[in-house]
């Protein structure tokens, strides 16, 4: 297992490199003088000269990239001239809320999605399956920003059960209970779509696995149906489900942009949206890079989880 972790870690390096190249290239596509774009309204001739020198913007692209990466490796993503602080500081302050939101959503989506998917498969074509199938259809067709508003309208305004935003300070003294109450609605919103995808996938995977010969063997041993379903079938279905959970992490991290905006959650998504409208280019670049890196690492984890349950993957 340690050897496997090491090999997987090695495989992550080129992916991270590729991600950094793409982030770098996308931003360097900006038409016009990049220094001027970075500085925006702060573009005095001295400032432009400063930034150009610091980021090597007068050099050819490959050199610019090397300069950028070497700064990156020292934890320097440049400076936001709109917020007047280093990009890294701003991102670090907002990373935890985003990961918390996305993590909670992913856990809810996986647990709920898998559970409902199993129920739908086991009760195929009966009313639970039909109900779940229709909910899934609605789930994957719902824009999360709209769902968020409906939840605010219903639980926050009509019933006034839960706070609808205003999570301005993550550790503002409310404690864990306060965070949890603020988290519930946005995490549910974010989990709905990802969960729907996982229900569908789990249902299909379970139906497929339940037809396999080893399930017949398990039944031939006289095992109870619940043991057949949960121990013999589900474990095999999980091998196919886990990588998709990894993919859903991408949807959740992306969807966090909407949900953070709707619920005014102090995370990276909302930061990105305002950074785009204020043309705070370096902040956008840094934010996208860090979230993408987090996504790559989450996929590393799901990869490892998959090889934990499947000895055939461990062996190869």
């Amino acid at each position: 297992m340690p050897g496997l972790i090491f090999r997987r870690l090695l495989m992550v390096v080129p992916v991270l490199l590729g991600v950094s190249v793409i982030v770098f290239l996308v931003i360097s596509l900006i038409p016009g003088d990049p220094a001027r774009a970075i500085l925006g309204t702060f573009a005095t001739p001295e400032n432009i000269a400063d930034v150009t020198r610091q980021l090597g913007l007068d050099q050819p692209l490959p050199i610019q990239y090397v300069v950028w990466v070497s700064h990156l490796l020292h934890g320097d993503l440049g400076r936001s001239y709109i917020l007047h602080k280093p990009v890294m500081d701003e991102i670090m302050a907002r990373l935890f809320p985003t990961l918390l939101l996305a993590g909670a959503a992913l856990v809810m989506a996986s647990a709920g999605g898998i559970l409902l998917g199993i129920v739908a498969a086991v009760r195929q074509n009966e009313w639970p399956d039909k109900l779940i199938t229709i909910s899934v259809l609605i789930g994957i067709s719902t824009p999360s920003f709209w769902l968020g508003m409906l939840l605010i309208l219903w639980f926050g305004v009509r019933l006034a059960w839960l706070p609808v935003g205003g999570m301005s300070e993550m550790f503002g003294g409310g404690g864990i209970g306060d965070i949890a109450r603020h988290l519930l609605l946005p995490a549910t919103t974010l989990a709905a779509v990802a969960g729907a995808v996982l229900v569908r996938l789990t249902r299909g995977a379970m139906l497929e696995v339940l037809r396999q010969d080893y399930v017949r063997t398990a039944r031939a041993k006289g095992l109870t149906e619940s043991r057949v379903i949960f121990v013999h079938a589900f474990r095999n279905a999980l091998v196919g489900i886990i990588p998709v959970i990894g993919l859903q992490a991408g949807f959740v991290l992306g969807g966090a942009v909407y949900v953070e905006t709707v619920f005014q959650w102090p995370g990276i998504g909302r930061m990105l949206v305002s950074a785009i409208s204020t043309r705070d280019i370096l902040l956008v670049q840094g934010g996208v890079l860090i979230v993408a890196a987090a996504y790559v690492l989450i996929n590393l984890l799901t990869d490892l989880a998959q090889s934990l349950i499947d000895p055939r993957i461990r062996a190869s």
Binding site: V257, I281, V284, A292
Partner: protein, 647 residues
């Protein structure tokens, strides 16, 4: 893979579906897809007609009329914060969203398919380069990449559309490459290249039509996403800019009014939802129609046991049980049918057989003769759907198993009657250590502790001659050889000292030497423990080595039965005679093998009279009339043939 017996029973039927309706006709037959089609057409008709509908101008503000609720006269859905008519903005906004989504999806599929085809067709470094690039793009959370692109290009509907298009290209490229690759590698493609067809011709005339269904399925899924995502960017203020508004833009404007005038935001969201539902329903329908793997019914959940009609109905007309109460197994008039669509396949159609304590009985026949389905019916292991026991009784010491409760059946399974399956590659659970796969059965039936059960499992591994059993108990099936896996299968069957072991072609997947060893082992162990054996094989030689009695099956029925030595020496049914002529005599090499001409019958269309008649060299006109019974030809030897006594 799921039910080998089932597949073997009806290849002829499934590969030639009769008068297949067109894809569109099948799509409209799907109720959900028709609903989606209807929903989407309604929306499309309205938005296409927008310029000629009597709508208020969508961009003209009228502050005096601001924030009117729905159903206000003149403003059916009310007005927004500057008094614009919501219905009009909604219809124009839907028009914009739909156009943007469809256009973006088409462009993305075009570019993506081109990349995929190029990569698959050219291969080599072009393929590697393109696919590495695609992998990199896919390493991003989808929406973040779109955001980065919008950040670079600046907010605006066109830029948002470009961003959404770019992030969807990898999806198509990868899918199309995969589909095209499987075709590029066929001999047919190599032939096309050799024959000097131009590359363009091969790509557009041969490759493209074959990957088209995949592209259509991809399109139908992505249009929905793309509408949602473009709406999302507009919602964030990064897409359509005021006063122009698509559905997302309207939602974004309404967000700040959520508490005062919820309808301004909720109504556009509802339209996005309906649009997406319509598209997704059509997409699902298309996938069902175009992707044969997902054809409806192809993925039905198998039940815990085979369905059976009531015992009363099944036992109609059967003679009295007689000695059945003292036998570990007596099957009387068993009929197991499969229902596929409207066709019914009589896989087993009236089989009688009895097994005495300690006796070894064989069933021999070609694939599709119903021998495996007979064996699986005993403990209700035939997949339902589509299998169903429609007639006959299965008696275990007089207890009818097809009508026993599930929990009673589960007590008998693995405890009193145990199976050894064909192909241990697929019949052992790949994720569970083999020791545990044996021990769980012991724990289930003997209530032993985990440690005690594992100790017994190791002892069993030793008795089936697995070397180093302590250590091997921790191995996974893929770490064992085929022969070892089959021994594990036998150990599982022996785990609870059953009275009857049913072995279904247990040696077919093995090489000849291993085959002989496994056979010998199985026979020794079951004699030692006094278990009866029901042994199923297509190979008369194997049956002769293991069994006391044999039943020859053909077309779902027993056509001959008797003591093995007797049947071997004096086969009376023409089918048995032919079958025996196929077997190289044991121990003697070089004998000519004459295969039986013709194919086994498809059991949905059995001819009247003798099922073997079309292939029988002795067939006479009267063979194809009426029912032919299994009659005694000697004191203990039966044959189902009207010409047994003809010269």
């Amino acid at each position: 893979m799921s039910a080998p017996a089932l597949n073997a029973t009806m290849p002829a039927r499934l590969s030639y579906p009769r008068d297949r309706p067109s894809a569109f006709a099948r799509l409209t037959q799907n109720r959900m897809a028709s609903f989606g089609l209807l929903l989407l057409s309604l929306i499309v008709v309205v938005v296409v007609a927008a310029p000629i509908l009597p709508l208020a101008p969508p961009h003209v503000a009228n502050v005096a009329q601001r924030l009117r609720p729905p159903l206000t006269p003149g403003h059916f859905l009310g007005t927004d914060q500057v008094g614009r008519d919501i219905l009009s903005r909604l219809i124009w906004g839907t028009r914009l969203s739909l156009a943007v989504g469809v256009f973006a999806a088409l462009i993305a599929s075009l570019i993506g398919s081109a990349i995929g085809l190029l990569a698959a067709f050219r291969g080599g470094w072009i393929d590697t380069l393109l696919m590495r690039g695609i992998d990199m793009l896919m390493a991003f959370p989808y929406l973040l990449l779109a955001l980065a692109i919008v950040a670079a290009l600046g907010p605006g509907l066109v830029n948002a559309m470009i961003a959404i298009t770019i992030v969807n290209v990898p999806f198509f490229a990868r899918g199309v490459r995969g589909a095209a690759l499987s075709i590029v590698r066929t001999d047919f493609m190599a032939a096309a290249r050799l024959s000097g067809l131009s590359d363009a011709r091969i790509v557009f005339w041969e490759l493209l039509p074959n990957v088209m269904p995949g592209i259509v399925i991809g399109l139908s899924t992505t249009i929905g996403w793309m509408i949602l995502e473009t709406a999302g960017l507009s919602f964030l203020g990064l897409g359509a800019q005021p006063p122009q508004a698509d559905l997302g833009g309207m939602l974004g404007e309404g967000r700040n009014l959520l508490q005062v005038a919820p309808h301004v935001a909720t109504i556009p969201g509802l339209v996005i939802l309906l649009l997406a539902i319509g598209i997704n329903l059509i997409g699902d329908g298309l996938r069902d129609v175009l992707d044969p793997k997902l054809k409806s019914g192809g993925l039905a959940r198998t039940h815990a046991r085979t369905d059976a009609v009531s015992l009363e109905e099944r036992s109609k007309g059967l003679p009295l049980p007689g000695a059945a109460a003292r036998l570990p197994l007596a099957i009387r008039g068993l009929r197991t049918h499969f229902r596929i669509g409207r066709a019914i396949y009589a896989a087993v159609d009236g089989v009688d057989m009895a097994i005495a304590p300690g006796e070894s009985v064989g069933i021999v026949g070609e694939s599709g003769s119903g021998k495996t389905v007979t064996a699986l019916s005993i403990l209700g292991l035939v997949a339902t759907p589509p299998g169903r026991i429609v007639g006959g009784e299965i008696l275990h010491y007089g207890e009818e198993l097809a009508s026993a409760t599930l929990s009673r059946l589960q007590e008998i399974r693995g405890r009193r009657i145990a199976y050894v399956f064909q192909d241990p590659q697929s019949t052992l659970n790949p994720l569970i250590r083999i020791g545990e796969q044996i021990a769980e059965s012991i724990r289930r039936h003997q209530g032993k502790s985990a440690a005690e059960a594992m100790r017994l499992a190791v002892a069993l591994l030793e008795s089936v001659h697995i070397p180093d059993p302590e250590h091997k108990a921790n191995a996974y099936p893929h770490e064992l050889s085929g022969g070892q896996r089959q021994r594990v299968g036998i150990a599982i069957a022996l785990a609870n000292d059953p009275e009857l072991i049913i072995a279904d072609e247990p040696t077919t997947a093995l090489d000849v030497t291993t085959q002989a060893q496994v056979l010998k082992l199985l026979n020794e162990l079951r004699r030692e423990r006094g278990a009866a054996l029901l042994f199923i094989s297509h190979d008369f030689g194997v049956i002769a080595a293991v069994c006391d009695r044999v039943h020859v099956m053909y077309g779902g029925r027993v056509v001959e039965s008797g003591p093995v030595a007797e049947v071997l020496e004096r086969p009376r049914h023409p089918y048995t005679q032919r079958l025996l002529a196929c077997v190289p005599e044991l121990g003697r090499r070089g004998r000519q093998v004459t295969p039986i001409p013709g194919l086994p019958p498809s059991t949905d269309a059995l001819p009247p009279g003798c099922a073997f008649a079309p292939r029988c060299h002795r067939a006479a006109p009267r063979c194809s009339i009426g029912e032919i019974t299994l009659d005694a030809v000697e004191s203990d030897h039966y044959a189902r043939c009207i010409r047994v006594n003809d010269a």
